[in-house]
Amino acid sequence: MNKYWTRIFIAIAIFLLLLFFSNDFGLIDIQKTAVIAAIGIDSAEQENLLDVTIQIAVPDQGGNGKASNLTIRNAKSVNEAITELNRKTGWYPSLVHCKILLLGKKITENNVFDVLNFFLRSEFIDDSCLIAVCETRAEDALHATSPIGELTALAITKVLSSEAQKTGAVSVMNLRDFAKGYYAANTSSYLPIVSVKQEAQSESGSPNNGSSQSAFLPCSIGLNPNNADTYSLVDSEPVPCGNFWSFWNKLFPLKRNPLPICAPCSQQADAASQKGSQNTPNSDIFEASKTMLFYQGKQAAILETDETLAFNLADTSTDYAYGMVDVIQDGKPVTYCLKMKISKKEQKLKVSGNSAILNFHIRANAQVADSDSAQGVIDIAQTARVPEHVLHAAEEKFKKELDAVMQKCADCNSDIFGIILKLYRFYPSRFNDLQENLLQNVKTSYDIQFDTLR
């Protein structure tokens, strides 16, 4: 082949490679695509059916995102709900950007993998997406007013971020790890519980006082009093979006199932969107300091805030946390707030005779961040140094909380420390002998030392 043809072939090859890597210059029509940012799954009133709430991100020209929430009720499966979204709105659902899955509390009474298997089958959702349980309904959480803009999903993902995990405040979980736990020999895992603090309610004293709460509660499809071009979109029972407008909506109900265009359904929500990321008084606050334990895909127990912190300090990637320690000092109760840096954490399972022993080996450095009693100026200057009795109290508290966690695990058979896996991996010959009632029979020993910065 002469040089002329070689050059032509090279040019063609480059052109073809360009097509190959560019999807033949195919573009995604954002106007026809529902970019799903979050999915909430609740049990429907009818047994074995689901209410699936989908939060769709709607980018605007200013680069800010708005959210539309759409609830598909009485779906037999998640897939049916997503298909229904496409059928009802004409929008093609794109799950690639879905960053969080929220499960309603009721749905955790049954095996959650009845619904989660859809996401494991789907190639179009990333298994690194976060997953959490809501204290009530996932639908309610997604309808809450985000304190950082329009996308509630974004606010919740911030609460469940890896940074939050590092501070021990939250036991963050993604779909991959949750599925790994379920399909492992111990069929155990855990999820953070997301609760919505209705700040507006506590300030005003009444949830129906004005429209301050309307952004959180599901509201009927209705015209926004401030902006006649926008709709709030939830096809649930009518709930006030302001007294006058709710009355108006009852009298003149709008056509159902409009295109999901916007999220805010209250003046305050609009104001919140205008203020961008400012935390307005009407914003709802998300918290995820509790943890739900799962066994065989069903909820088994709940770890309280302190227990969650202890679990995170002992087992997860938490390496920096704050904790409160109560001591008696000069005959008076004093509460110290300690800043803790975990320098080493290790759990080892040992089998001795017919018993298994789980040893927690934890080393941490602490310093005083605060205390509730006035101290001398020298004490404040030496804040890095923690009195011995406070360190000792911190160690004892840590042991006590870990004991409580272990007890809950034993009671509900949820092996969140992976004791059964450790037995299988490191003592396979003893697995069959010891696996039965292992969580109840395992002995724990603690080698926990808190040290002060010198």
Partner: protein
């Protein structure tokens, strides 16, 4: 004569061949062997490595090409028949990897599902490569080496912090039978030693060449074993769900949360290397066809074979699982015969008969 350099052969085994085992192979292996995937893969590497070693032993004893050896033993017609059969084998062995790569590109690099024809440009490139012979394979290997070394290392480094290697314990728990089956059913991914047979006489064997090639092969094997270990460490009991493995393992890095999927840069780079790697069996096929037809022009056979593969890829577009099952569970014996049996038998071929050699053979 179509020449390839020793260095380039080393690069093929060290940096190009490992990539063929990073898409569907890990999940397929896990299906059979679960946490013992390393043992099964090690078995495959040992078998292939031994065959490769024996071919290199043959290379140290002769300067003939494989065709010449066949011709010495069976005559020209016999040699052409064997080459025709190998042409069919190479075409067959190219189908599954191409479908693997097609699905990988469509699922990982495209946001929405493109048309089947989106993959067609690959065959244009492959056609071009096929017209260039072994020399082009060597040059691509030279280019691929730094790309692979940098990108593959980056992907492993991004993935390692998320791997729990204790998931690989206890060794041998799935049983010898499952590990053996996993080994057998992976033969279609381990016939690359065959390339060496066709490189015979096309490279200058020098002292220590066998050591260099085996060393390169070992580097490639270790890279794959490490990759498999990390993969299972990250996914453990749900590893069987993870196709397109190379794109799955680095995505959990925390850097991604602020920078986006930076790992995709490396995946793109490796995809490029992968494209050329998947051209090699087709190039081999064209090489065999040309030998059958007395060194005819490569353009027509290249066009025909690429067109045929394009049609097959479109025809089997929705049958990947069936094709994969056929290759792994039924055709393993075919891959064993062609990949290991015939190279071993080639040691028995006559090497000493003088055959017409091309002039530049001993350059």
């Amino acid at each position: 004569m179509d020449k390839i350099k020793l260095r380039q052969i080393c690069f093929i085994f060290a940096v190009m061949i490992p990539l063929t085992k990073t898409i569907v192979y890990p999940a397929t292996l896990v299906y059979q062997t679960r946490n013992d995937l390393i043992l099964a893969a090690l078995g495959n590497f040992l078998i292939e490595g031994i065959v490769l070693g024996l071919i290199l032993f043959l290379a140290s004893r002769t300067t003939c090409t494989f065709f010449d050896l066949l011709q010495n033993t069976f005559g020209k017609i016999g040699a052409k028949i064997v080459y025709a059969i190998f042409a069919l084998f190479f075409a067959l062995s190219a189908v599954l990897p191409m479908m693997e790569q097609k699905n990988f590109v469509i699922q990982e690099l495209y946001e929405n599902v493109p048309s089947v024809i989106s993959f067609a440009p690959f065959f244009g490139l492959c056609f071009f490569a096929c017209t260039k012979g072994f020399k082009s394979i060597g040059r691509v290997a030279d280019i691929s080496m730094p790309i692979f070394a940098f990108s593959f290392t980056a992907i492993l480094l991004l993935a390692i912090p998320h791997a729990d290697f204790t998931a690989l314990l206890p060794f041998g728990a799935t049983g010898a039978q499952n590990i053996f089956n996993g080994c057998l059913h992976s033969f279609n991914w381990y016939t690359d030693c065959l390339y060496m047979l066709f490189f015979l006489g096309h490279f200058q064997y020098e002292k220590g060449a066998a050591g260099k090639i085996i060393g390169s092969y070992t580097i490639g094997a270790l890279a794959v074993l490490l990759f498999l270990a990390i993969f299972y460490g990250i996914y453990s009991d749900i590893a069987v769900l993870q196709h397109n493995t190379i794109a799955q393992i680095p995505k959990y890095t925390t850097a991604n949360t602020s920078l986006g999927r930076i790992d995709l840069l490396f995946i793109f780079a490796l995809t490029l290397v992968m494209i050329f790697t998947y051209c090699i069996p087709v190039q081999m096929c064209v090489h065999c066809i040309r030998k059958v037809f007395d060194d005819c022009s490569p353009i027509l056979p290249s066009a025909i074979i690429n067109l045929l593969l394009l049609v097959l890829t479109i025809f089997f577009n929705y049958s990947f699982v069936e094709i994969q099952s056929l290759y792994t569970q039924k055709l393993w014996i075919l891959f064993a015969v062609f990949g290991y049996g015939i190279p071993l038998l080639s040691l028995l071929l006559r090497r000493n008969k003088n055959t017409p050699q091309t002039e530049d053979k001993h350059e």
